[in-house]
Structure formats: C-alpha cells, structure tokens
C-alpha cells in the first residue's frame, strides 16, 4: 500500500489519474476498513494539505472547498449566517474529534444516505464541482448520488468544492436530526428545510430527507405551499408529504413504521425553524440543541 501527501490540486489529479483514491479526514475510509466494510485502497492520495481545497468563498455562487472540516462549517460566519442548515448538520457530526478531521467533501462523496450535510446541501441548491485531469464539471446532487455509498463521479474525479447559489433576502434554513444520544450518533432520520418568505407568506420552500431512502431525497410537490402562511396546517402538510414520500427500512436503529412517523416530525420542525430564521429570529446552531429536538436541549 502507498500513500502520497499532495500539496497541490495538480498533484492530486495526477495521482487520481494514476489510480489513487483520495483520502481527506479518513473518518469514513479508515474506520470502514477497520470495521471490515471495505479494505483500504492500494494507493491513496491525501488531500487535506491542498490549500485551494480548504477555502470558503462568499459571493454568488458561494463556494465551500471540499476539505473544509465540520468543525469549521459549524463556526464559519458565512456558513452560519447564510447556509445555516449546513452548520446545523456539521455541528451534529460524530464528536469533536470527528468534526476536527471529517470533511464536507468526504461526507458528500462517501454517499451514505445517512450523511448529515447532504439534505442541507440539497435544499440550498448546491452542486458538486468535480475536477479531473481532463477538466472540470459541475453536477447536481441528485445526479451525483446514485445509491447507498455510490456516486456518479469517476475514479479520476475529485470533488473540489460545493457550489451554492447566493441566498435571496428573507431566507432561512435549518437541519434537524432524530438522535438517541447527543454525540457519536448516526442519523436515524433527519430533515433539512430552506424557506424564503415574502412578508408572512411562503415564497419558496424546499425540504430534503436523510436516511429514509437509498439516497438523500427531496420532497416533491411543495410548490403548492407558495403564498401560504407558515402555520400548523402548512407544517402538517409538510409532515404528511415527508412521511408519504419516505421509503424507510427497518433495522437495528428503528422500525420503518417509526421512521415514517418521525421523518414527518423532523420535516415539520425543520421548516418551522427555517421559517423562523427567515423571519429574522436568531436560533443558534445546531437547531437540535437550541430547540430541544431529538435528544432535547
């Protein structure tokens, strides 16, 4: 086995072209190997010391480098102010040590349906920027994730950044997760919402769900909520749509019956928190702790 520590993007792309796999924080790759999920690749290239992959750039679009860690996401002012759902999610990942090394790119490219940053990225309209020796392309996340642990990226492609359109005025976002304990938890179910308000009425609302389908899914048919006030009826409609569109499994963590119910609860709470943020209320990151969701405050 070999491991190269790259310091520039070109070096990384050359290594990938030669058959290496990227390793960022290693919290999925190495832990998965030790659990017997998949052996470590023969050839690895470490990407965590490539400066251009670790930048967060404000602007339109906003750009978050692939190797930005969860610890940075949860405290970076641009992310917390404008992409709050991502900060909510990053703050829930693992433990402090997981967050200090685990990266956004690793979370996205690992392709788990339980990834916490996935649903926030979807509702914020993010696209993945993929670079290879042959050039750069941008793909929507619904095209990127093709199944549990699978992406449409080729072996030679590196995710360099997540690219997110600038946020309209009066927008807010939030991510909530059902958790049985307050650290070292994997999402049983989770939901992200982005809400833009026009006065008291909904201008747009997007909701995406974690861990209830083979990939992160976005709820269809919420256009009908445009123009309505955020009230119990609207939240109930969101919950119902989430429960209906989920296709959860039963496993050690929960039954499908329970997941189908709680995904509705999470979706409702995510929309509620996102709308409150859109209306200017300050709800600290992560929402789970601020509002006592899941394992209450």
């Amino acid at each position: 086995m070999s491991m190269q520590i790259a310091t520039s993007l070109d070096e990384v792309l050359a290594a990938l072209a030669a058959g290496a796999r990227p390793i960022a924080g290693g919290t999925d790759l190495v832990v998965g190997h030790r659990q017997g999920k998949a052996p470590l690749p023969e050839s690895l290239v470490a990407i965590d010391r490539v400066p251009e992959l670790a930048e967060i750039a404000d602007g339109d679009p906003l750009r978050i480098g692939a190797t930005v860690t969860h610890a940075r996401l949860m405290t970076d002012q641009v992310v917390v102010d404008r992409l709050t759902a991502i900060a909510d999610a990053a703050a829930l990942v693992g433990s402090p040590s997981t967050r200090n090394v685990g990266t956004l790119g690793g979370n996205v490219m690992n392709g788990s349906p339980a990834m916490d940053t996935g649903a926030p990225l979807v509702v914020l309209g993010a696209e993945a920027e993929l670079a290879s020796a042959d050039g750069i392309r941008t793909v929507g996340l619904d095209d990127l994730w093709t199944g549990p642990g699978r992406t449409s990226a080729t072996a030679g492609e590196l995710c360099t950044a997540l690219v997110i359109p600038a946020r309209p005025a009066s927008s807010g976002s939030a991510y909530v997760r059902l958790e049985y304990r307050r650290a070292m938890e994997i999402a049983v179910v989770g939901a992200a919402a982005s809400v833009t308000l026009d006065g008291d009425a909904v201008a747009s609302v997007r909701v995406a769900l974690t861990a209830v389908a083979p990939t992160i899914i976005e709820i269809d048919g919420l256009e009908g909520l445009t123009g309505r006030a955020i009230d119990d009826d609207l939240l109930a409609a969101v919950a119902e749509a989430a429960s209906e569109q989920a296709s959860p499994i039963s496993d050690l963590r929960a039954s499908d019956r329970y997941r189908r119910h709680t995904i509705g609860v999470m979706a409702r709470r995510a929309v509620d928190a996102a709308a409150r943020r859109a209306a200017g209320e300050s709800i600290s990151v992560p929402v789970n702790r601020a509002l006592g969701i899941g394992a209450a405050a």
């Binding site: 307050r182 709680t262 609860v265 006592g292 394992a295 209450a296």
Partner: protein, 765 residues
C-alpha cells in the same frame, strides 16, 4: 451529618491514566512474543463434526494451534461444572472458543484462525427465556446431568437454577386485599462495555507461568488457570497492569488459561488483545435478560399485604457465576418493603446466548426497574403519591424485611425523604417534564481477605494487598486507612497490589468489596504494626504501651506530649532488630439470620449483611412526538454507611447513574433469530456519552454501620447503579401516561407506549 474522618483526596493513579503514561496489559511487549487469535463458530448452537487445523498449522509464522484435544480433560466453573476451555463436540453460543492460534503477528494469527476448517451441523437455537423453559424445548446441555454440581441443584431441562422465597400465606392474603395490581416487565440483556477490551500476556519460565491480564479478580483468574491446566497455585502468578475499567465484565476466569496453554505449546510468550466485537460476544459476563411478573395486593390504606412474583433470567449457554442470581433477583423484586406474605419463584434458564455473569449490581437494575415501575402502578391504584406510598411501605430501622430479617439502624426512609426533598426543591417543571422516583437496595458481601504491611527503616510503609483497582479508586483509600492507624503521612505509604505472587488472597474488585473486605484486612495488618511501634516507643519513653499515641509522625505519651519520639526514628531502631512486618486477615462479619421464612434453592441471598439503600429521583423530559427522552437531573440519596473518601464516593454515584441512564434508555443487546448478537459493537450498542450526562446531585446519609467495613462503611460500587433506570421509568410514565414495559426504554418504545401501539414493536424477551 458527616462523620467522615479521612481527608478528601484525589486518587494517586489519576494522572497516569489521564495523561496516557499509564501502562495497560495491551502495552506489554516481551522478547519473542507471539500473538493469539481465537476461532469462533458462526452459529449459536451446533454439533462440531470435523475440525482440521492442518492448513492453519502449515501457515508460515504460525507456531501453535490448539483445540480441546490439547488441554487437560477438565470441566469447570462455579455451581455446575458445565464448561471446557475449548468447545467439545457442541458449540452453545456464538462466542465459544473452538480453537486458538499463536503466530508472529496478529494478522497472521487471525488469518490462521480463519483457515482452521470447522464443520458444524446446526442445532435448534434456544433464543429466549420462556422458550427455554417451555415443555419440550431443545436442550442446551443434553448431558448436563453428568456434570458435577453443587448439592441441591435440580437438573431439569434448561432450568439451571431454581430459587423461591416464601413467607406467610401469599394466596390467602391476596384474596383479602382491597386492590390487586399485576404487571409484566421484560428487560433485554446488556453489557459492561469497559473502555479497555481485555488483553492477556503469558510467559513461562520453566514450570512457572506469569500471566499479565486485565482481570478484576486476580485470584479467581489464578484459580481458573490452576483448575483447567492442572497446575499448583504456586506455579501460577497473575499480575494486573493498569486496568481499563471492568464494571463486572472482567470478573471471573476467562481466557488466561487459553493463552498460558498456547504459550507453553509455542514455547514463547503469547499475547491476546480482544477486538470490540470479541469483548461483546465472548466473555461470560453479560448483564442477564430478565422477565418479571408481579402481583401485589394492597389494603384499603395502601399498605402491601401480599406479593406474588415470577422471575425468569437468561443464563446463557454456560454457568458463569449466576447461581445466586435467581435468589438475588427475587430479593430485588420483593424490594425493601414490609411484606408479610410473599411468594416469588425465580428461574435461571440455559439459552444459546453468551453466558451471563456479574455485571455491576447483577439483577438489580432490571429487577428494581420492574419492581419500582410496578410500585408506581400500586401507588396510583391506591390513590397515593409515589413518595407517600413508599413512606407507608418501606422497611426501616427495627422493621422486618421481606424474608424476615430485622434491620439495625438503616437509612431507607431517610434516603427517600432526602432525594424527594432535593428534587421537589429544584424548581418548577416545564411541559413534558416529570420527576420519577425509585428506591433500591443492595447487600454487602463479606468474605476473608488478607494484607501484609511492612515499615522500612526510613519510616516508609509498603502495604501488600490482594485488592484490585478496576476504575473505582477504592484501592487508593487503603493507604489512608493505614496512615490513620499508624499516625503517619499518607505519602509515606505505597501500595503493592494486583499481583498474586506478592499479595495474600483477596476477592479483588468484585461485589463492592474493596474497602469492605480488603479495608478490614489492611486495618488489621497496620494495627499490628502500630502495636509494635507503641511497644518500641514505650521502651524508649519509659511508658506503658497503652499510653502511647501515634499521630502526625510522632509517638508520644498521652497527657505528656513532650515525651515523644519520631516514628521514623522508631522505624530505624526496628530495622536493626525485630523488623516491623505484619499480616492481617480480618474476622468476617456475621451474617444476619432469617426468621419465619423459607427458601428453596437457597444461595445465601435472602438475608443481607449491612444492606445499602438508595433513592434516585430523575427529572426527565420526553419529546412526545418522537419518544426521545433526556434525563436532565438526578437527585440521589444514599445510605452506604460511613463515607471514607467523599471525592471517590461522589464519582461512584455519578458513574453509576450515568451507567443507569444508558441501561434505561439506549443500552440493550438485540438478538437475531439465529441467537447471535446483532449490535455487538459501539456503533449500534449505544452507551451514553458525556454530552448526555444529567446534572447529578448526591446526598449521603451517613450511618456508621456496625458489623460492616472499616469505620462503619458499606460498599459503594454497585448501589449507585440500582435505582436510576427505575427512576427514569417512573418519570417517563408520568409524561406519557403509561409504563414502558421493556428495557431499555428506547425512543421507539416510549413513542409506542405513548401511542398505545407497544404491541406492534415486536416485543421480545
């Protein structure tokens, strides 16, 4: 009231452990050392039809492969000798060792273990307590009538041990009751889950073997090696480096003999380090699954007139140390209540699960959870508050326990009032919050133990004790007991411990016994040295030995403080003559007697020496939409006799409560239909994290207890783990309107209970 006499102190081994400079068994490396790996079956029950080790033996780097054929033909363990070191013909649980390999690297050892060819014909799996006890169930031990066993053990199907508590006439009294309430509660098995997976290193020198091992009980480990490998005690030395926690999981004898036998065969030192999966499935120390059915009758004033009960306990595939569990569990579901008419049957059933064994307060957290949930149901039926109901029914000083034991001074009612008052005074409750209250009790176990003490010529002291540190820090208190007896600074006292080659027998870190038993031995041994010092001083000061006072490093004549001599100087004098050495074994306190009661299958658990009482009140908040429960505060009051080291005592209570929160909410082993554990790892077996810890408020009701440990102390390792899950259960029930009848009370189970859909959650024992 505080009667503590010793100064509060921070344990001496703390800095080593926190900074990483402490050495654990897995850190040891010896010249030429090999690495061990075990071969396990892939099934929970089956007949071995073929084992072929030749491919493994032929692998480069493999120096020894062993099976049942390579060790003496010995059946072992406590009460029923149903066990061999390596599986013989039948495998009875997924973690049973079929073969062992020693190789030059852990990777080669693992590959070689996998290369051993084993054919197993699957047998029907006994996967549940009631199924095990049912007529016509497949037998876990077809041949167990042929094993040697303690007198009085009836061998009947899968029934391993049967105990019953009988007092008065429960049927007649029940018939006269004003109110009768019946309940059924089912607790899943759980685990000790110490942070350090076990490790063992064995090295032979000639006929003698030294075994470094992460055990809580060095002498039990030694005796197990001697019994199974047929070696005299003098040839086996057990040393325990720092131990990374135990919680009971490292009590008993486990794999020391396997590694010693491998090392002998390979003619090299051999080391074993368990993976987390192995730590979950292989040791015979799992907290037992349990079913509790209780029916209690009350009179018109809400006083208990009769209780009938049935307890089923999952023993797993082999007898570890569970023989006393049925009777102990029966005592926990009888509870610390005044009950004149009692009839409780308790059955320990063989299944094809990993063997159960003493995990911190065995049978108590589940038994107390079932009983105290039932007790809140009784209070509701009687129209009384939980605290008032308990006031009317709890035992206390001078009253008689469920099995006829009359109590000396105890703090049962005082802990109830103290915890209740602390909780009530903690401010208003928010929506979906409640205070749940539970009381618990726990016995003290007195057994013989020994200690040596020697004072060197410079006045420093070595205490040599069979005590074992398992995380509690209690061992550290031994130094303070000795310092007080000798009147010298505690810094002058060093401990030699965790080594059977040096120390006299002691039970080790088991059953809350460190201070209770080793403490009495240390007091006796050092008191002997103090006597010798007084005699020496008396000669020097021309006074009577009885008038000599030892304090602050000085021996002086009572009433004449100017007539004095430094203890260091006395030590120097003794070094040139009769050395200051001593040994001590303390008299074992006398156990209380039973009156008017009848025990079937008595295992000595029906009357309790120096019983410990606790009351926990948990402030819980339930997220009604999801069932997720968070424990915000626990108000704990404990009667554990005199508290010797307040810092350590608070740590014990806090740790016990946090473990109790895990048992209450997230920790439960799930079994597949094939009898294997589905969540044997820390990803899916959810321990509590420090982020989940409630605020813990502890009050000690200190009653110096006669006929107990040093200075009137009782134990404190297990008692804090008894009542927490029960208190949380009663809090949850208040919020959701019904009791969750399965443990752990997972979010989904709480949600189902709140919605009346609990029957859909696949309730299984």
């Amino acid at each position: 009231m505080t009667v503590t006499e010793l100064p509060p102190f921070v344990r001496a081994d703390g800095p080593d452990k926190v900074s990483g400079s402490g050495r654990y068994t897995a850190d040891l490396t010896l010249t030429g050392m090999l690495h061990a790996a075990f071969r396990y079956p892939d099934v929970a029950h089956g007949r071995i039809t073929r084992i072929d080790t030749s491919a493994a033996e032929a692998m480069p780097g493999v120096l020894a492969v062993m099976t049942d054929a390579d060790v003496p033909d010995v059946h072992y363990t406590w009460a029923v000798a149903d066990r061999t070191l390596f599986a013989r013909d039948i495998v009875r649980f997924e973690g049973e060792v079929i073969a062992a390999v020693a190789a030059i690297s852990p990777e080669i050892a693992k590959a070689a273990a996998a290369a051993i060819e084993v054919d197993i014909e699957p047998l029907p799996v006994v996967n549940d307590i009631e199924e095990a006890l049912a007529e016509g169930a497949p037998l876990v031990h077809e041949d167990w009538a042929s094993h040697t066993a303690d007198d009085g053990i009836i061998r009947d199907g899968n029934l391993a041990i049967y105990s019953a508590l009988q007092r008065g006439d429960a049927d007649a009294a029940m018939a006269s009751a004003a109110t009768v309430v019946s309940s059924r509660y089912v607790a899943d098995a759980s685990h000790a889950a110490p942070i350090e997976p076990r490790a063992i290193v064995a090295q032979w020198e000639g006929e003698k073997v030294t075994i470094w091992t992460s055990t809580q009980v060095p002498y039990d480990a030694r005796d197990g090696v001697c019994e199974t490998l047929q070696l005299p005690a003098s040839q086996v030395r057990i040393i325990v480096p720092h131990l990374g926690g135990g919680f009971g999981g490292k009590c008993g004898f486990h794999f020391e003999a396997h590694i010693a036998a491998l090392a002998r065969k390979a003619k090299r030192p051999v080391k074993l380090v368990f993976s987390r999966w192995e730590e979950f499935v292989a040791p015979d120390r799992r907290r037992e699954g349990m079913i509790v059915e209780l029916t209690t009758g009350l009179d018109a004033d809400g006083r208990i007139v009769a209780r009938k009960g049935w307890v089923g306990i999952d023993n797993g595939a082999y007898m570890a140390d569970c023989a006393f569990f049925p009777q102990l569990a029966a005592m926990h579901v009888a509870g610390p209540y005044n009950i004149d008419h009692l009839s409780i049957d308790a059955k320990l059933a063989y299944t094809n699960h990993q063997p159960s064994g003493s995990v911190r307060a065995p049978t108590a957290p589940q038994g107390c959870w079932a009983l105290e949930s039932h007790t809140d149901e009784l209070a509701a039926a009687a129209g009384l508050s939980p605290v008032e109901f308990r006031r009317r029914n709890l035992v206390d000083t001078g009253t008689t326990g469920p099995m006829g034991q009359t109590f000396d001074e105890i703090g049962a009612l005082r802990v109830l009032e103290a915890a209740h008052a602390a909780a009530e005074g903690s401010g208003p409750l928010a929506e979906n919050e409640a205070l749940g209250l539970a009381v618990g009790w726990w016995p003290s176990f007195a057994v013989p133990a020994g200690a040596y003490a020697k004072m060197h010529g410079d006045g420093s002291v070595q205490l040599i004790t069979g005590a074992q540190e398992c995380g509690t820090g209690a061992v550290m208190t031994l130094r303070y007991l000795a310092a007080e007896e000798l009147g010298i600074d505690v810094e002058k006292i060093q401990l030699v411990y965790q080594d059977t080659g040096a120390a006299p027998f002691g039970p080790g870190a088991t059953g809350s016994q460190t201070l209770l038993n080793h403490g009495r031995a240390v007091e006796t041994a050092t008191r002997d040295i103090a006597e010798q010092l007084r005699e020496l001083a008396a000669e020097q000061l021309e006074a009577a030995p009885g008038d000599i006072v030892l304090a602050d490093g000085v021996a002086s004549v009572a009433g004449t403080p100017t007539a004095s001599i430094a203890i260091d100087e006395l030590a120097g004098i003794a070094a040139g003559g009769n050395l200051l050495i001593s040994s001590g074994t303390a008299d074992v306190p006398e156990y209380p007697t039973l009156e008017g009661s009848h025990c079937v299958g008595d295992q000595g658990m029906a009357a309790w020496l120096a019983p410990q009482f606790s009351c926990h009140v948990a402030k819980v908040r339930v997220d009604r939409d999801t069932g997720v429960t968070r424990v915000l505060d626990v108000f704990a009051a404990h009667d554990n006799g005199t508290i010797l080291n307040p810092i350590g005592a608070h740590g014990q209570v806090e740790g016990g409560i946090l473990m109790g929160v895990g048992q209450a909410l997230t920790e439960g082993t799930q079994y597949g239909d094939d009898g294997t554990q589905l969540n044997a790892g820390l990803l899916e077996y959810k321990l509590q994290t420090i982020a989940d810890a409630p605020n813990i408020h502890t009050t000690f009701i200190e009653i110096p207890t006669a006929n107990a440990g040093p200075k009137g102390s009782k134990g404190l390792a297990e008692a804090p783990n008894v009542a927490t899950a029960a208190a949380i259960a009663n809090g949850i029930a208040q919020v959701v309107g019904a009791h969750v009848t399965q443990l752990p009370m997972t979010a989904e189970r709480v949600w189902d209970t709140a919605n009346g859909t609990a029957d859909q959650n696949g309730a299984s024992a």
